[in-house]
Symmetry: D2
Subunit: 333 residues, 4 copies
């Protein structure tokens, strides 16, 4: 079927390629004309402006947006202004699900359907397929089924289906508008927690030789009472590799971690400033609103904030208090 | 090769079966004579007492223990008393790695090797193979290589090797005595964190319909200001299934979670008291000793403690303080 | 000066008493006519309806609301409908500061000032005075200064002033509308953290005799390896009392805790379900919005959620996973 | 009475002064001869060597040690070698309570009493008195009562006693050897939590103007959706001051915090590397051993570890995973 794709970055361009490979007709647009040209060479129909892009779509039009969350709302308004009753806007980016709830209500008045699609799979999606979590009206979601079926991984011969329906093919209609991004939001919240669990554990392994290191014996340094138990030099690439084979914690994130450590065991190409793109934050806010404890997910999120330097003033306060009550002077960093 | 196995519970018995299937000769012992008899029927050589069990082994003897951590130390002493220079004791249970460090030093004096093997794979290990994290002297570990090779999953055709050596076959010599249990300990610490990340996220999904529920408007209840954003009835079995196909958080634990939710979507067969068997605790103590932050792993551990009822007195204190400063009366549970 | 007070619960009634004792004229209203009658007997002017209440106030009118957060917004609208340019509405309850920002903008159009006053001191405020954190337009806040001065504790002879201005008297104009409730929100967020720090520590003291208790030795129970270090029966009322005298952790909350433990060392009158009234939640959301790590404050909040039973499904999931990979059966609660 | 004091640093020297002021005879020793000379000028009896120091004490001798935890054990052995039946060694430092349990058992054989005294009050103790948490045999503790009575704050006219006995005077016999340091350990664990609660909250206040700051709109930056709610420039010295007067979170640590912020509102003299001296670590290990949840105390401890740079490798791992699955490049720090 025909689909319009706007936003031809890392994710969007590869989704177009996967769709075209399976025979779909893709009309594409991006403010970066070069990105459009690249895909036109590969068989897509390109638009030189938003108007031309929308104009090249047959009715009912389906426009899929893959944009940064910070600008999606504005672009939805621009696209919607060019659309008519029966048309469909799909937001496949990492937008807040609340925007989908609000946009859907607003557009429903004009007979335009709003479909929010949480899309997981990253840069590997072109090969592996994308896991799609979909929210929106039944008829619009049904209309787009061929697109979803192509983008999703499809039947998995190595991992048997555990449920009926499309879930085992890698896409799922989760509920009304907003439900897709809600499920994707929680997916990413979980992702933060899982990632942090590996990172903390591996960091402990790295310190398994702490007993070999010299340690000051001043009052500002906690003594390591039993250094004989911290004499191990652990081979992190080998350990993460062995865990991939038969252990309880095998996962795709572990596969990637083992691969990263194999390529660069000291991770010298990274500085340790960890970005977060919103879903972890929104997951926590949902937990707070609904009164659900999420200590692991919040710890993971707050570690990222700290990695961005945001605990500095709090830490200065702690040092100031320690100096005030005990005359403790800070050791240099 | 010949191997002695003591402790024929869930894990031990299946390891014997996997070893015999691959042609190894297994001499077995358990205080439960029935467990011995069952394996004798399947081809094992049985011992009626610890002495007889050890007596049936050819030198150099190898005795593998699969016992609860609480009794392993005592049994090691009993077994060691019957052994001689050149013999090997293997602890495959969930013992504290510190015991391995201490035992190895003690037994080395008598020329007995102590090999600690962290064993992951649970009740699925018979089919999938066990992931083995091994600590101990080089010669003893090398001597036992055929046993490790059989117990481990072996070459994996669906997941390419990322490292040289045996790691990609599912077993790894991690270092001197203690290193195996240290790595397994951290493995389980990570496991707690990963499990909790899924559990918290799925719990949030379950509350996605909080806006539909009635809510008191008294001063002891925090208002839900925007109920319109919590109107989703999420199908948990379907969502956990779709995440298995192409998403970033795919894992074996997710496979098991999706399976459990498919069989029993409300988990009515569980009460929510979560045991912990020690490794999570020891992981945290190692983090504390070495000064490594582990907020996610500790949150996961403390949630288990709380599920065992151990936050009750602290919570009563909070209610007592609230009553003391604000006259707040507790709502009933 | 004259002030109208609406909402004569625990806090509101005592504030009226403190104001009247210092010579202010109080006009009072509550939907509970008995609460009005009680204060009329003590010298207040009562209103039988909202209209009569507002009608009895001289211009410019000042109406102070002490209401549950869940209904404050609605009542502000009703009161505002009866007011005119130059009048002032004060919200002294535990409302979300965002409501103050929004209400202030809305009412400013009609020339009505909105002042938000975070009020701390609980049921002790009548005697000790209330700590007031104030947001709103300069002129309105200045106009109300006599009321703030009376409600606040005033000069403290035992604790020297550290800053210029009214802060040392116990009230502070923190900024424009919303700033008062923002500061009070964070105050309560901190309160949750401080309370939890005491509660967790005292809970650990209570378990200092764990080595004396019998302990199962099954695979589902983590062994206590060194029971000789947990043989202390700590006298909790005495310890919390001694900490009040010269220690670094002396505080008013500790005073209250020591008092509560003296009266009821086992806290048998409490069940351990800890309510939260919103500010802790909003504090966390502000931390999340602004990217500030708040692991301690969030842990304190999530413990309250857990005390309300909200971790149950997550814990069932953990037990279900443990059963799935290891055949672990739950111990009974 | 006569008392020997060894270790004349910040704490020890001032304790000697407080004791002499109240008429006690102090014999003092330190490896730093200048520290001895200073106190001799003020009336103390000095020892030039450990032997001379012990030799100048009348029997039964009482030697109080105020030393860094890392060296206390070694010094106790040296002192004990010079002592006889009936003598008393007091450890007033921040030692692990386990050492007290072990030392007491060892010395009891020789009839020497071991008294562990947790000492809180910091550099302010000379004026305010020290809060003393005492463990040890009844007779030795009774013998030392005059010393404890002098060091402790004594009767407090502004804060009424809540319990019988010496607790209201600021010292308490908490139980057998080890109990004093156990209670002090938990005291410090709580202290970490309380400090962190203030620090996190004040850090949030500092970010209350986040809506005024420019923010990137790229896919690596989470958008701040409602900047209108983050427009407050909070005066931190004034807010911490107002909280000291009548609020629920008033405390001595808040007094110190307000003082520190008054002197240096941006805390430019601190870098944010927060030391920890052991008790917070041991508190957590006790919580872990006894199965008591301590999410707040552990979050506070782990923040300190992170402030020491120990989360760096974990954060690099997170960035490496993000790059591996999503091609996300780190923003510079």
């Amino acid at each position: 079927m025909q689909i319009g794709m706007m936003g031809l970055g890392r994710m969007g361009a590869n989704m177009v390629r996967r769709l075209m490979k399976d025979g779909h007709e893709c009309v594409v647009y991006d403010i970066n004309a070069g990105a459009v040209a690249d895909l036109v060479k590969e068989g897509a129909v390109g638009g030189a402006s938003l108007e031309e892009f929308v104009g090249k779509l047959s009715k009912p039009r389906s426009v899929w947006l893959m944009l940064p969350a910070a600008i999606t709302g504005r672009i939805v308004d621009q696209v919607a202004a060019l659309m008519e009753q029966g048309d469909i806007i799909i937001d496949g980016g990492n937008s807040n699900y609340r925007d989908a709830v609000d946009q859907a209500a607003k557009l429903a008045v004009r007979g335009i359907s709003y479909v929010d699609v949480g899309t997981s799979g990253g840069i590997w999606g072109f090969d592996r397929g994308y896991c799609l979590m979909i929210g929106g009206p039944d008829d619009a979601v049904k209309h787009l089924d061929p697109v979803f079926a192509t983008l999703a991984p499809g039947a998995d011969t190595t991992s048997p289906a555990l449920a009926e329906g499309t879930a085992s093919l890698g896409y799922l209609h989760c509920g009304p508008s907003g439900a897709g991004h809600f499920v994707k939001m929680v997916h990413n919240g979980i992702e933060y927690g899982v990632m942090a669990a590996y990172a903390e554990g591996i960091n402990i392994l790295k310190s398994a030789n702490a007993g070999k290191r010299p340690r000051s014996a001043d009052a500002e340094t906690s003594p390591l009472s039993e250094p004989q138990y911290y004499q191990f030099d652990i081979d992190l690439p080998a350990v993460t590799e062995v865990w991939r084979h038969g252990s309880v914690i095998g996962s795709w994130l572990l596969d990637l971690t083992a691969g990263a450590l194999k390529d660069d065991p000291t991770l010298k190409n990274f500085g340790g400033r960890v970005s977060d793109s919103g879903e972890g934050r929104w997951t926590l806010k949902a937990a707070i609103d609904t009164g659900v404890p999420a200590p692991v997910l919040s710890s993971a999120l707050f570690d990222r904030f700290a990695s961005q330097g945001e605990s500095e003033f709090a830490d200065k306060l702690l040092s100031a208090m320690r100096f005030a009550f005990g005359g403790h002077k800070e050791k240099s960093k």
